[in-house]
Amino acid sequence: MQREVGSLPLAPALRARLAAAGFQTAQELLETGPCGLSKEIGISKEEALEALQVVRQECHGDAARTAEGLGATRKFTALELLEEEQAQGFIITFCSALDNILGGGVQLTKITEICGAPGVGKTQLCLQLAVDVQIPECFGGVAGEAVFIDTEGSFMIDRVVDIAAACVQHCQLIAEAQQEEDHLKALETFSLESILSHIYYFRCCDYIELLAQVYLLPEFLSEHSKVRLVVIDGIAFPFRHDFEDLSLRTRLLNGLAQQLIIAANDHKSAVVLTNQMTTRIGQSQSTLVPALGESWGHAATVRLVFHWDNSQRLATLYKSPSQKEATIPYHITPHGFRDVQPPAVTQGAEGTEMNPRKRPRREEEKQ
């Protein structure tokens, strides 16, 4: 109740007038009432009423929200969060080495950023994830839908068809090997057509369209509650050309990051962004660093950098809240994103601990 007037979300001009009139706390505002307020500051009664409504919502907002339930407030104890995290699934990438260094796969409710030079496989991984998010739960997936926001025009539908076909075939092999009821049932709905129909594709041509799309995302996600993955392929592209005011760019990007993390959190989906690389010229050498500047590095929770080593593609985990830094090789096959060689047949102990429903897909890797 003793909330300072300066800390309420009101228009700056209104705030300045309130300060000049001597109002200090929200309590005083509410006591004065709309008529008194409009007289003292010299604004119309409608404006005063609006302002008081905002103030009332801010101050009573918490009480109302706790009455509604935990979903609206974002207050938890660490124990509740731990239980939530352990029950959450991961989006697997079909490259077990990458899944291992990520701690099981792409995490939901977090922003993952993939940086890399052109042609190294960023879009391939995005397409793979858009298919993998739809894997039914009995096969170890999260059974969700995907939103694909494309700014570079690199979404090739033929490639998605290839990847999806390989994924369906993979699941069919598992079902034949295990012969369980729920597998066969799930396979009825998991087909090429259903995969393609659950990828929602948006094409944004410049940064304004991208910003608008991200601001409209929460509405879209509440209508399509099964979405578990939002991919923005090419977040750097619209912001790198045609931007003279760099401080505006920083502000827009930071605002964008906050919007994305809100969407990821409220709708329990993973957000995957791809970024380009730029050259930083140092004193004696030049290095490749992710584009969009230093402050953008803080936006993503998990950062992967893809790079080349002669002709081998490598992925390095640069930033993660729970995993150590590591580098692994990967391969891009006609079937999609895969490991370099078939991994050991012995069941990895971490695999069963992470998700008991994860089937041993390693035997089936020899495609």
Binding site: R3, S7, P12, T77, L82, Q258, N265
Partner: protein
């Protein structure tokens, strides 16, 4: 800048206020700084009544000077030093985090700021059995990593039989705030709870961690609007008064940006924010010497009221 209102003090009636307002005296400051004889003549009020009102208002609204020795005694009894869970970081901070002060951790992405915050939360909750309020604005709070740290710390103390990790986790309250107004609301909520001394849910709270403060302020700074700066100062005032009034240690994390002219890294949020924290620690990860093969994490002291700046220690983020 408090508006004169009836009932603010005995003797200040509604008619008096109307008369004063007609002559341009609206707030306490106007009243106290005006010439009372003049006012008595213009408003046709009794001089004695005005003097009595002024005395009461001064007593109510002015600050009282405190004796230095008394202040020292009070600080000695109310200040606590909280261990961060990392002995090398404690050495850097002169044995730990001091309550009543704002400490800042800054670093490039991936340098370990969130890890250090998690370590502090684990250490305070497990070792001191105090409650922790963690305001997370980046979504980087991972409970499983916190659990790992708690397990590692318990192993050191050999209490594995009765693992107190569950209670330790319950003592850490996490609020996800993605907007500056939500941060302010959460801090206001904390202030209400502490002043009403609701012991049941909060428990003895000694530390507030905000990770990160720049993520919520950055979208507002810059451009031609000065609103971002005003809101940032509002936040800083709230943090400092909370720390001082309720003897809390406040830990915030900040980003680094690149200075456009020199190309060196500098803390974000500008010069105005640099006056807010009393201690600033810069976290860096350096490529290690050839023998180790791992990246080394180094913490250096950039600003401190107690230690010489430039101290550096190696951090071990388990």
């Amino acid at each position: 800048m408090v508006v004169l209102r009836a009932g603010l003090c005995p003797g200040l009636t509604e008619e008096m206020i109307q008369l004063l307002r007609a002559n341009g005296i609206r707030t306490v400051v106007d009243f106290v700084s005006s010439d009372l004889e003049d006012v008595a003549q213009k408003c046709s009020l009794s001089y004695k009544a005005l003097v009595a009102v002024r005395r009461v208002l001064l007593a109510q609204f002015s600050a009282f000077p405190a004796n230095g020795a008394d202040l020292y005694e009070e600080l000695k009894s109310s200040t606590a030093i909280l261990p961060t869970g990392s002995p090398s970081l404690d050495r850097l901070l002169d044995s730990g985090l001091y309550t009543g002060e704002v400490t800042e951790l800054m670093g490039a992405p991936g340098s370990g700021k969130t890890q250090v915050c998690l370590g502090i939360a684990a250490s305070v909750s497990l070792g001191l059995k105090q409650h922790v309020l963690f305001l997370d604005s980046t979504g980087g709070f991972t409970a499983s990593r916190l659990y790992q740290m708690l397990q590692a710390q318990t192993e050191d103390e050999e209490e594995q039989a009765s693992f107190p990790g569950v209670e330790a986790l319950q003592r850490i309250q996490v609020v996800r705030v993605f907007d500056i107004y939500e941060v302010l609301r959460a801090l206001q909520d904390l202030r209400d709870r502490l002043s009403q001394q609701v012991v049941s849910s909060t428990g003895p709270l000694k530390i507030v961690v905000i990770d990160s403060v720049s993520a919520v302020i950055y979208p507002l700074l810059g451009g031609r609007q000065s609103e971002g700066l005003a809101i940032m100062m509002q936040l800083s005032r709230e943090l400092k008064t909370l720390a001082r009034e309720f003897s809390l240690a406040v830990v915030v994390t900040n980003q680094v940006t690149r200075d456009s002219s020199t190309g060196l890294l500098k803390p974000a949020l500008g010069r105005s924010w640099s006056f807010v924290p009393s201690t600033r620690v810069l976290l860096e990860s350096r490529e290690a010497t050839w023998g180790k093969g791992l990246t080394q994490r180094v913490a250096s002291l950039a600003k401190s009221p107690r230690q010489p700046t430039g101290l550096q220690v190696e951090l071990d983020i388990g």
